[in-house]
């Protein structure tokens, strides 16, 4: 059947034999798959490198905190750095206005998560319920 749409202008390209079209389709699908599989491997490798790095840093931090805790336990009069003292969770006081403790803790955790910072590095001054 003559293509009606192209009556006034030549169609781009040439007719493709059905066999060639089938091979092109299968080969093309394979190329997309292979390309994305290799990309997946690359991203996985990069991801595990950064994950290992993070795990290592977290382990080092944990070890240092444990060392400080052991030191304090062994000698209660030892003066430890201020940040280490605050780390377990007594980092100061916060003013709560019509907000239960549990909800305040939840809000602080959400804020810390959103900011991607440890909660003991944040300073919350007050949490107040805003009524409509």
């Amino acid at each position: 059947m003559a293509p009606i749409i192209l009556s006034q202008v030549s169609a781009s390209g040439e007719k493709l034999p059905v066999g060639d079209a089938l091979v092109t389709a299968i080969f093309g699908y394979c190329v997309v798959f292979v390309g994305l599989v290799i990309l997946m491997c690359v991203i996985t490798a990069v991801g595990s490198y950064f994950k290992n790095k993070d795990d290592k840093a977290a382990a080092e931090q944990k070890a240092s905190l444990e060392a400080v805790a052991r030191k304090v336990e062994a000698n209660p009069l030892t003066i430890v750095p201020a940040e280490a003292k605050k780390a377990p969770g007594s980092a100061g006081k916060i003013k709560l206005h019509s907000v239960p403790d549990k909800e305040a803790a939840m809000i602080m955790a959400i804020v810390a998560d959103a900011m991607q910072k440890p909660i003991n590095e944040l300073h919350f001054i007050s949490i107040k319920e805003v009524e409509d």
Partner: protein, 405 residues
């Protein structure tokens, strides 16, 4: 002044008269189609940002172009035929377009040169969070699987008598990625740009209607109810490194993808690197909006009645729908495979999000997952395959471009 002669000249110059000669009635049909598209865009909100522009471009060109004699037309298809004809003195002459073209001819140069789709990709990159994909790289398999429709529709188009170039352009509708479809069609089969762009954007808007029946057909209630574990946190450094690695890898693999992948990843790097907020903001908003204006109206201008109203357009519309359906099927089947291989940890519904209509396809996965299990939150899991689909369709387009250009 001869009033009768003046009136006669005004009538013969008017568009109203043109409706009654040389197949001008076809323009009338196109004007009705443009109004239907405007209705779908404005009232039904089918991809309104682009469809309203495309529909109005369609309206403008069919109000002003009635053949090569339409000197005042906004868009001249005959000038572009000369531009593509190696035997014509104006072959590949943008100067001739600038000298003799109308407003939409000049705007269309940005489409022809592949500028607008690439800039749109830059904006898409700046708006996209690749975190879910980085957290779960296996999503790339779903993005690859969901390109099935591209190659099946390509094969179907060859069977229906289209040339290789045209079949490739029709097939890419299955990638569910408007800018990629426009980019590839402009390079391979510019004579089909109007119907392909309209089919691509219409089906993208219809994803919430096209995909759910296929999702229900191919998955069991038990599979749809699967709750997936939360993805790991992705560090900022990973997000910065990602676009650089993807650009290097994909462009080296398929250099023809450079304009699309290069712009997509540059936009994403501006978003993630943290020192170019102004550029990221501009690309996401101002530039994206400006390019959308130009792209929509100039693509709409290619729907000249004498070319658009044909059996070929109907074939393209049917093949486009087939492509969309099979892309969804491809993603779902690999999703089901992952469900089996992981012992039921992967919800196969996220596979359908591998078609790259971002974020519509991911939202559909989320909605269907919640229908099966109201406590199910699949959105972030589906965003991985969804953005993988953008990369997958760009690779598919790059492959077809490399083969047929």
């Amino acid at each position: 002044m001869d009033i009768l002669e003046t009136l006669n000249r005004l009538w013969s110059d008017s568009g109203f008269q043109s409706f009654f000669v040389n197949g001008g009635w076809k323009n009338l049909i196109m004007i009705i189609i443009a109004c239907v598209l405007l209705y779908l865009g404005i009232v039904k909100k089918f991809e309104p940002l682009l469809l309203v522009g495309i529909a109005f471009g369609c309206l403008l060109v069919n109000l002003s172009y009635f053949g090569p004699d339409s000197a005042d037309a906004l868009y001249h298809i005959d000038l572009w035929d000369n531009f593509l004809n190696p035997d014509h003195p104006d072959y590949h002459s943008y100067g001739a377009i600038m000298a003799h073209g109308g407003l939409l001819d000049i705007l269309y140069i940005g489409v022809k040169a592949g500028i607008y789709p690439s800039l749109i990709f830059m904006g898409v990159g700046a708006m996209t969070d690749f975190g879910p994909l980085i957290a779960n790289p296996k999503s790339l398999l779903l993005g690859a699987a969901a390109q099935l429709g591209v190659f099946l529709a390509f094969f179907g188009a060859v069977l229906l008598g289209f040339t290789g170039n045209q079949a490739a352009s029709i097939g890419i509708i299955g990638g569910a990625d408007g800018p990629t479809a426009i980019f590839l069609t402009t390079k391979l089969a510019p004579e089909l740009l109007g119907p392909i762009a309209i089919a691509a954007y219409s089906y993208m808007a219809l994803i919430p209607m096209i995909q759910p029946p296929i999702m229900k057909l191919l998955t069991t209630e038990k599979e749809r109810q699967v709750k997936m574990e939360q993805n790991r946190n992705v560090t900022k450094t990973e997000k910065i490194v990602f676009p650089i690695i993807v650009a290097m890898f994909v462009i080296l693999l398929l250099p023809s993808t450079a304009p699309l992948i290069g712009c997509l990843m540059l936009g994403n790097l501006w978003r993630e690197c943290g020192v170019t907020e102004r550029l990221s903001d501009t690309v996401q908003n101002a530039l994206m909006n400006i390019v959308t204006v130009f792209l929509g109206i100039s693509v709409g201008a290619t729907t000249v009645a004498s070319r658009f109203l044909s059996l070929e357009t109907i074939k393209i519309v049917v093949l486009g729908l087939t492509a969309f359906c099979f892309s969804t099927v491809g993603g779902l089947l690999v999703g089901k495979l992952m469900y089996k291989l992981t012992g039921g940890k992967v919800n196969p519904l996220i596979g359908s999000a591998g078609v790259s209509a971002v974020p519509m396809a991911a939202r559909v996965s989320q909605m269907e997952g919640q229908k099966a299990n109201p406590s199910n939150f699949l959105l972030m899991h589906a965003m991985g395959p969804n953005v993988a689909g953008v990369i997958g369709s760009a690779i598919a387009a790059g492959f077809l471009l490399a083969v047929f250009k």
